[in-house]
């Protein structure tokens, strides 16, 4: 399946891009994050990441669909 993945903050810096399209056999977000983490050597563990799918916060149990837009959100620091 193909996913659009959005990166922010330290993940964007580590990945060197704000967006990428990836192919993955997995429809599981944890597996997908693990793949991205390995590829880009992200420092942040999945337990500290919030998931968003297609512009909305999503549970990590969410089953991903082809063409989904996924965002892995590091701990926020607005305000």
């Amino acid at each position: 399946m193909n996913y659009r993945i959005l990166y922010f903050a330290s993940l964007r810096d580590a990945a060197g891009r704000d967006i990428e399209t990836v192919s993955s056999d997995s429809s599981d977000a944890r597996t997908l994050y693990a793949e991205c983490k390995r590829r880009h050597t992200f420092a942040i563990e999945a337990k500290s990441i919030r998931l968003a799918v297609n512009g909305e916060f999503a549970d990590w149990n969410r089953v991903l669909a082809d063409q989904d837009e996924i965002a892995f959100l590091p701990p926020v620091s607005g305000g």
Partner: protein, 146 residues
Amino acid sequence: MMFRLAESPIDAAALSAEFANADAGACVTFEGWVRSTNAGKRVHRLDYQAYASLAANEGEKILVEAMSTFAIVQARCVHRVGALAIGDMAVWVGVSAAHRDAAFAACRFVIDEVKLRVPIWKNEHYADGQSGWLHPDNTPVDSAKT
């Protein structure tokens, strides 16, 4: 929209003026400013990065929650994104109400929830040339290895 992201400086006076209302007796505002130091490090400037569409939706949700939770008349929040210098206003929250209890409680609720829930990230650039993305408690993301 009660919540918005702003790419240019926040005009607090203009925002306050929109709150004029004959039924409101109390208005509480919170302004967050860029401080010159964090955790003992001298801050030079900072950048706020946002997941703009989700930040707008989540911010709006917080203000809707505030309106339904507290006896208030109006509530607004504006959050800066982009490059900010020391002293710049990073966020403005305003709440008007008939009475001050609700105005204080709702204003506090909004800034607390915005800091917790809205996908905005602060990258501090230090005087020593280093920089780093921060956690909600202003500790660095990198050294924590969460």
